[in-house]
């Protein structure tokens, strides 16, 4: 395990002391604003490298670390922050409302996975927001200014910036708190603004900015150049042929294809995402889909979302630009979390209207996806659920009998899109063993993997394993009661981060993408006898009843 995380036994001991309450210490007589801001191994991400910042034209490139006493903030940084705050309050009603209307009822307090995992009071969503509110009150509404100490305001200092950096990077913008807030206050919105402000003075995270720079340059977060991108998928094609005897034939940058398929680059490059990619390729071959993959718009994800509004728009613009150039009819999107928050809630507004595309219609079933009539982009789970509903796939769920599954709703797809039934329908159709986790941990109440919103860095492992603890604890329960060994997700960051989380908390549980299971279950025309799944693990469900 990483050197940035305590041993499991140490963490268990720490948790033992906290139960049943969640706060890590006795805070009687203490005020949150007097608590120190402490950076230590495992609780901060390496800052953006100077060359990355220069490449992006971002301010204040320099070498620094969060543990430094002096962060080398640029001259006049206070004014930059104040002006930035003002400008965002002017542009976003959400931001202004969320700063103004909190009544501090505390309903959000124990809803945050980072609070549940760390017991740090400033990880209660209400206090996370108060970190900004206290400064906002000091600088803005005039009546509260008169009442200063009374209203809980404070001065903007370098120490406050450190505190913002620490705690707005212990929020994965998962929106779970906003489900419970009686005012509908969404901490994700506040965190997004805080990170924008911090970027203005060069307080940042390399694990976010390096992918942003890569994506701008090469088209994807991992910085894969076109030829390598093609090679990678071709090697997956070979693997598929070895396993199934079927040669699938994806095309790249092909003009005139009916559909452009875009998925996170993690599916092309990372383990276990590549098995999900193999699932997509098998599915498209199975139904004879006329599609193409772009090496230019080769990223579904969008780390711009974790940087600034403008950067999100800039990286997202490639999708429509490429769809227009290739002359496709509509876009099909792969499994990803924040990608779908961007596509569903932001893309059309930022980069639309996509009047050069057509309202998506499934070429196989004729189903019109009227819910995507304007954006013209369909989620693969919607697409596959429709295929299965119309009996267009030949599936043998027994091929997944070695996988006893549970399903992890990805935060963004759950709370920023509202897609709950389609992936479950697909999953139930492709496997025989599926058990839900506890009801307070799924669907709209789902827990983040603990590493979302660009916090999947190795050096952040301590906080990641704590933040992922609520998810892991829920998996542990179905592992004990139903012998679950397979955690199915529809998010590329989940696929990258949950394996580590499972190794730490729940050994014996592996992480799968939904379409990997689809790929396992598909009975392909002309295939050779299947004995192994896409990971080359033996399929156990192929007993006597096999044709």
């Amino acid at each position: 395990m990483s050197k940035y995380v305590p041993k499991l036994s140490e963490l268990k001991q720490e948790f033992e002391k906290k139960k049943p309450v969640l706060l890590k210490e006795d805070y009687s007589g203490k005020e949150w604003r007097d608590l120190p801001v402490e950076f230590r191994d495992g609780n901060w991400c390496f800052p953006g490298k100077p060359e990355v910042l220069e490449d992006l034209g971002f301010p204040n490139p320099r070498k620094w670390a969060a543990t430094d006493a002096d962060w080398q903030l640029p001259d006049g940084w206070e004014k930059t922050i104040r002006d930035g705050l003002k400008s965002r309050l002017k542009r976003f009603r959400s931001f202004k409302l969320f700063l103004d209307t909190c009544v501090r009822c505390g309903a959000c307090a124990d809803k945050c996975h980072f609070f549940l995992g760390t017991g740090d009071p400033k990880n209660m969503p209400v206090l996370r927001a108060e970190l900004i509110r206290s400064v906002y009150r000091n600088d803005f509404p005039l009546a509260e200014k008169i009442l200063k100490g009374f209203s809980g305001s404070r001065k903007l200092t370098a120490e406050v910036i450190k505190e913002w950096h620490l705690y707005f990077n212990q929020c994965t913008e998962c929106r779970r708190c906003s489900v419970f807030c009686p005012m509908g206050i969404d901490t994700a919105e506040i965190t997004m603004m805080a990170r924008e402000l911090l970027n203005l003075i060069g307080v940042n995270n390399n694990w976010i900015l390096a992918p942003v720079s890569n994506c701008n340059r090469t088209g994807n977060h991992l910085g894969i150049e076109p030829h390598t991108f093609v090679q990678n998928i071709e090697s997956l094609v070979e693997d598929i042929e070895d396993l199934t005897g079927i040669k699938v034939n994806p095309t790249f940058n092909r003009k005139g294809a009916e559909i452009l398929f875009i998925t996170p680059s993690g599916d092309v490059f990372g383990d276990p995402g590549v098995y999900t990619m193999m699932g997509y390729l098998l599915l498209f071959h199975h139904i004879g889909l006329d599609y193409t993959i772009s090496t230019y718009a080769s990223e579904g994800g969008n780390f711009g979302m974790f940087t600034s509004n403008e950067m999100m728009k800039k990286l997202n613009a490639k999708m429509y630009h490429e769809a227009k150039r290739l002359g496709v009819k509509w876009i099909l999107g792969g499994e990803c979390g924040h990608m779908w928050r961007v596509v569903h809630q932001y893309m059309d507004t930022m980069n639309g209207p996509a009047d050069f595309l057509e309202e998506p219609v499934s070429p196989i079933t004729g189903t019109r996806f009227s819910n995507a009539a304007s954006t013209k982009m369909v989620h693969i789970a919607e697409f596959t659920a429709d295929l299965i509903y119309h009996n267009k796939l030949k599936l043998d769920p027994k091929r997944n009998d070695h996988l006893l599954t549970t399903f992890h709703d990805s935060c963004n797809v759950a709370r920023g899109m509202g897609m709950f039934e389609e992936p479950r329908y697909v999953l139930r159709s492709v496997c025989n063993s599926f058990h839900e986790m506890a009801e307070n941990t799924i669907r709209e109440q789902t827990f983040c993997c603990g590493s979302g919103s660009g916090l999947n860095a190795e050096e952040f492992m301590d906080i990641r394993m704590r933040g992922g603890f609520p998810r892991a604890s829920a998996v542990r329960q179905v592992q004990e009661t139903h012998k679950v060994n397979t955690l199915v997700t529809i998010c590329a960051i989940d696929r990258a981060s949950l394996p580590t989380l499972m190794t730490y908390w729940n050994p014996g549980v592996s992480v799968y993408g939904l379409h990997e299971l689809v790929g396992n279950a598909l009975v392909m025309k002309g295939e050779k006898k299947r004995t192994e799944d896409l990971r080359e693990s033996p399929m156990t469900g192929l007993g006597e009843g096999e044709e």
Binding site: K19, R93, G184, N216, K318, G418
Partner: protein, 331 residues
């Protein structure tokens, strides 16, 4: 606990002001007429200003928090309330928040057990306390309308009678009086007992609770303890409504305390967290439709951003692309 005693002290001083002012300085006119009128103007103008100040700010993106299945394929049940697709569905969602506190109804309590293991229990106390508090206040305010008309309007009469259902004391006891006291006590006690809440609470969280408590106690003592004659009060308000500012009859000093604290609340309201009463209607995570893929929503300040075009990309990678057999636009 400075943040508890400071607001208490302020309330104490606020109570003394009208007491001294009326009893010893003879400023009855100031406290009965001028201050109420001024505070009413501040309340109305202040609330209007705050709401307009929110409304002029754009809503650049559709960001509803989806707590239920979106409208998608025909055979999948759409959760119309938690993932609204049409205006009236979103309106119903907002009303559910305003009238029934639906999000708060979902509240859970997380506890840590050996393992370590997390368990979540349903906890409806805050929801119940909040509902009782807000609804009692609303009924109390509405039944006060009987003081503002020479003939009591039917709805106020109805509320008044319903509220006096348990007619066991003289004067008859209002249920809402007991309920609001219970609810305020609960809301204060939970802020003090739970360490998490003690940490997040500000003096401005205790102040309005204490202020409303003081108003309620002053009002109740008038009715049940000193049993002051309500007729002069009624007459006083009616003459005010007729715009003839003349003091009529003798009014107990406790009434002035009650009225002055109400005025303080009215002045405090627009500049404080109490504005959540208006903000809840505007919350973009609740009042927007989850139909952003179906209907385009435009952003008034959508910035013009230069992104890296395909042509630039091909220029950078043309040779590599050709080698990999990828089609290119320019040879």
């Amino acid at each position: 606990m400075k943040k508890v005693f400071m607001p208490l002290l302020v309330i104490g001083i606020l109570c003394l002001i009208p007491y001294v002012g009326v009893q010893y300085a003879g400023l009855g006119y100031l406290f009965a007429v001028i201050i109420p009128c001024v505070s009413l103007v501040i309340l109305i103008a202040g609330v209007a200003w705050r709401i307009v100040n929110w409304l002029i700010r754009p809503v650049p993106f559709r960001i509803p928090t989806t707590c239920g299945q979106e409208k998608s394929l025909d055979w999948i049940r759409h959760d119309k309330l938690e993932s609204p697709s049409y205006f009236w569905q979103a309106a119903a969602r907002v009303l559910g928040e305003v009238l029934l506190f639906r999000s708060l109804f979902r509240n859970t309590k997380a506890e840590l057990y050996a393992g370590p293991k997390l368990a979540y229990g349903s906890t409806k106390w805050l929801w119940l306390g909040g509902m009782v508090f807000h609804w009692s206040l609303l009924i109390i305010v509405l039944r006060h309308s009987k003081f503002f008309f020479s003939t009591v309007p039917p709805f106020a009469d109805f509320l008044d009678n319903a509220d006096r259902f348990f007619d066991i004391t003289l004067p008859a006891f209002y249920m809402t009086d007991a309920l609001v006291l219970a609810a305020i006590s609960f809301l204060v006690v939970r802020r003090l007992r739970d360490m998490k809440l003690r940490l997040i609470s500000l003096p401005t969280d205790f102040f309005p609770l204490f202020l409303i408590l003081a108003i309620a106690l002053a009002g109740m003592s008038m009715r049940y303890v000193t049993k002051i004659n309500v007729l002069p009060v009624h007459d006083q308000i009616l003459t005010l409504m007729d715009h003839s500012f003349v003091l009529s009859g003798e009014i107990g000093v406790i009434f002035y305390v009650h009225l002055f604290l109400v005025c303080v609340l009215a002045i405090y309201f627009p500049f404080s967290k109490l504005m959540h009463a208006g903000g809840i209607f505007l919350s973009p995570t609740r009042n927007l439709c989850n139909n952003s893929r179906e209907k385009r929503h435009s952003n008034s300040w959508n910035p013009d951003i230069k992104f890296k075009s395909y042509a630039e990309y091909e220029d950078a990678y043309r040779e590599k692309m050709k080698k990999a057999g990828l089609p290119v636009e320019k040879e």
